[in-house]
């Protein structure tokens, strides 16, 4: 797929030096091959980078590194949005807390042919009260409403948006992220007073 960033107006790198900068992040989860990297690649400025982390729970006999792909886009001259591919679920704790802690929210890409691959991610986000949207990977328009009804029947919270998404198409990815941001904002609003909140997540090294 070609690089789409340059064809659209963008704020590019931040404004003049001394300007206040901040950053936020979104997590993209789902099963193998469902299009997580493609999703991120469609919206960020450069190609994806890969970071390594060592999961603390695995620091026993065999040392293993977890690789985490991510991309970044400047949303305005002072705000960088990072999009992280969630590490795979066979190793749910690996690097996971560092990626998820403090995220605006998550996109769970959902392959209708392999629904089980995304269920762990959904359960995790619900347990940790992290707002997420369920993005159906390219379901044909003719069956979309049926599929949504089936997924609703799986028992996910009624306020979780279920959207259709083509991870290869920038506009579709953008729409999905917008529905996530709207949902996250609403969710934040609902849970305004709560100081108890979620269990703190330990960082990895």
């Amino acid at each position: 797929m070609d690089y789409v960033g340059s064809r659209f107006p963008d704020f590019g790198p931040p404004g003049p030096p001394g300007r206040e900068l901040t950053s936020a992040k979104v997590v993209v989860a789902g099963g193998f091959g469902v299009g997580k990297s493609t999703f991120i690649r469609s919206i960020v400025e450069n190609d994806l980078l890969t970071m390594t982390a060592l999961p603390p729970e695995r620091a026993g006999l065999v040392t293993e590194l977890v690789r985490i792909q991510f991309g970044r886009v400047w949303l305005d001259p002072g705000l960088a949005l990072h999009l992280f591919v969630a590490p795979q679920w066979q190793d749910p704790r690996a690097g996971w807390n560092d990626v998820v802690r403090g995220a605006v929210g998550a996109v769970v890409l959902f392959d209708v042919m392999r629904p089980a691959d995304s269920v762990d991610a959904m359960r995790y986000f619900e347990d940790h009260k992290i707002p997420y949207v369920l993005a159906l990977n390219n379901v044909h328009a003719s069956v979309r409403s049926d599929v949504k009804a089936i997924i609703r029947g799986m028992g996910i919270a009624p306020e979780v948006p279920v959207v259709n998404c083509d991870p290869r198409v920038r506009l579709s990815v953008r729409e999905t992220l917008i529905s996530l941001a709207e949902h996250a904002k609403l969710d934040r609003w609902r849970r305004r007073p709560g100081p108890d909140e979620t269990t703190p997540l330990a960082p990895v090294c």
């Binding site: 900068l21 060592l54 590194l65 605006v104 090294c205």
Partner: protein, 181 residues
């Protein structure tokens, strides 16, 4: 490779399985990780036959790849002085940038600090520094924490610092930023 040292290390780990030592952290670090990645890419069989969205997307980046201990442990150990935690709270998305002081003292910095200063001429996140320097996240956090304490880099405020949910103002800003994209 020194198998005796390896055996010793394993024995020590077996005694204290719960505690993560810095040596554990460093065992995962090697300078030629790029080469290893390509090798494992060819040896790891495709996990599935029908990737839907992107056939060229190989799952190898998301899998856990075992990496043997390496001589470069010693070097990275020296960089961080053996510490695995930084005093400064750095999230993976926290932005850092080089400041005037680091530019002025460019000639006298340690090589790895110099490298960070060059990378951070434009603001970079902790994750980006880790990826571009090909160092584990934990090492980079300590390195950047040190540099921040010495005033060599500016650490920008992160909306979610300390694991709190981003506030409504930031949510709104993300939303309007996405709409403008």
């Amino acid at each position: 490779m020194s198998s005796a040292a390896d055996a010793h290390r394993r024995r020590r780990r077996a005694e204290t399985p719960a505690e993560q030592t810095f040596a554990d952290l460093m065992n995962g670090f090697s300078l030629d990780s790029g080469r290893k990645r390509t090798r494992s890419a060819s040896s790891v069989p495709a996990r599935e036959a029908t990737p839907v969205a992107e056939p060229q997307e190989t799952p190898v980046f998301e899998t856990v790849v075992p990496e043997p201990p390496d001589a470069s442990i010693v070097r990275a150990y020296a960089w961080t002085g053996g510490r695995t935690r930084s005093n400064i709270n750095l999230e993976i998305e926290t932005l850092v940038s080089a400041n005037d002081q680091s530019r002025q003292s460019a000639g006298i910095l340690q090589a790895e600090h110099q490298h960070v200063v060059e990378l951070c001429r434009s603001p970079r996140s902790v994750a980006e520094v880790a990826a571009l320097m090909r160092l584990p996240l934990g090492v980079v956090k300590v390195l950047l924490g040190d540099m921040a304490e010495r005033g060599l880099v500016d650490v920008h405020q992160t909306a979610s610092a300390g694991g709190v949910t981003p506030d409504l103002g930031l949510m709104e800003r993300v939303l309007s930023g996405l709409r403008r994209l």
